[in-house]
């Protein structure tokens, strides 16, 4: 008897939730919790934290994030093409090549812009 693989994955996920969940939920119950402003202070090598913690966002790597979103889609497209590479006629594969070349130019330009520190 073979079950549907997706069902097996769901069962595996449920097993994982049941068996790993207690690792954090149980210690919460039995651990002593007494709020103490000094012990709960964020770690800053003994200094008293100043200002808000969630403010320092670096824009410097934002272009790489955008490139990631674009090439995520391209990567998935290439996988779909790669599985059946043998079954695809050469002309169509050439089209995929053209697709990649068309994307190469903006990728190069984006990299160039990303590396200019004064932009960010």
């Amino acid at each position: 008897m073979t079950l549907n693989p997706w069902l097996l994955i769901v069962i595996w996920g449920i097993i994982l939730i049941i068996l790993t969940g207690p690792m954090i939920t149980l210690p919460i119950f039995w651990s002593r919790r007494k709020p103490d402003p000094f012990r709960d202070m964020p770690f800053e090598s003994g200094q008293v934290p100043q200002g808000e913690a969630r403010k320092r966002i670096v824009m410097q790597y934002y272009p790489y994030l955008l490139m990631f979103v674009v090439f995520d889609v391209v990567g998935m497209f290439l996988f779909a093409w790669g599985i059946s590479f043998r079954g695809i006629p050469a002309a169509d594969s050439f089209l995929v090549l053209l697709f990649l070349v068309l994307l190469g130019a903006p990728l190069g330009y984006a990299l160039k812009m990303a590396l200019q520190r004064e932009n960010w």
């Binding site: 008897m1 079950l3 693989p5 997706w6 097996l8 994955i9 069962i11 595996w12 996920g13 097993i15 994982l16 939730i17 068996l19 790993t20 969940g21 690792m23 954090i24 149980l26 210690p27 919460i28 039995w30 651990s31 002593r32 919790r33 402003p37 012990r39 709960d40 202070m41 964020p42 770690f43 800053e44 090598s45 934290p49 913690a53 969630r54 320092r56 966002i57 670096v58 410097q60 790597y61 790489y64 994030l65 490139m67 990631f68 090439f71 995520d72 990567g75 998935m76 290439l78 996988f79 790669g82 599985i83 059946s84 590479f85 043998r86 050469a90 594969s93 990649l100 990299l111 590396l115």
Partner: protein, 343 residues
Amino acid sequence: MVNLPTTPADILPFIIAVVTSHTFITLVIFPGFIHLTIVVMFLTWYERKLLARIQLRIGPLYAGGPGGILQPIADGVKLIFKEVMIPYKADKPLFLGIPLALVFLGALPFAVIPFGQHWVIANLDVGLVFVFAVASLFPSMILIFAWASNSKYPFLGGLRSLFQQVAYEIPMWISALSVVMLAGSLNLVQIVNAQQKIWFIVPAFLSFIVFFIASMAELERLPFDLPSAEPELVAGWFTESSGAVFMVIFLALYMKLYLMSSLITVLFLGGWWGPAFLPQPVWFILKALVVATIIIIPRGVYARLRVDLLIKVGWTRLLIIALANVFITVVLLSTGVLSAWGL
């Protein structure tokens, strides 16, 4: 198919039939939960021992057995009984929930990793993409966890981790593309079966290099461990975690180490294939452990890169090398050079 029990007398045979079924064994014992726990605990001990040897130290020694092999259990018992510290003004549900999600996501892809011809939980048609899709959820989880800690070091570390993992994911995918083209399938079992005559490390050597480097960067291993660079950022994105939370994150990280080693084994090193004097799963685990060793060793040897250089290398060098290998694969496949090996 086992029939559901109808009378009380049927319940015991039903339970026995379920427990001895192949599905149950794969889920719970062999490629499933027990095997995973043991290997991951072994890896934590193994890394410490290995690094100690490199640096002429002794490493764990006292906790039971030869060479302190029970050290992971001692650590686990210690950590699970410590207080769960939640930093001031931290986002409590996210701070406690994200570590669990991390360990869940680290273990979920093992459902499709084949440890032997029949030793796989779910023989999925889109297995490789499934692994990549699940692995691509890690960066956002880390960012949310860093945000939830409400502390400066974790937030900086989390951002670095995000950018680094994002920069190395695409080279990783493109290098795996060569393997997919060679095997003509996304099913990991079929990918391994296609390597019976020749391991894909031979026709796709450049891809292997790229994949290896990218997986080291994804795992935040030295020389790519900027997100947790100790001198600057203490422990990076998990600085604020302690006790049980730390233990779960630690488990998730080693789970991911084992996952990446297994994936490299499946894609490039011929999976379970090897001389027949050892059973298939043993070959697989041996290969994965060798890969894990090679991933661990630089931690005792190298210094780390600078973060902007690191990200730049990912997008310029590695992506281009991976694409070059895709073109090599196209040429190899269309000229039929590999037909001698049944590809």
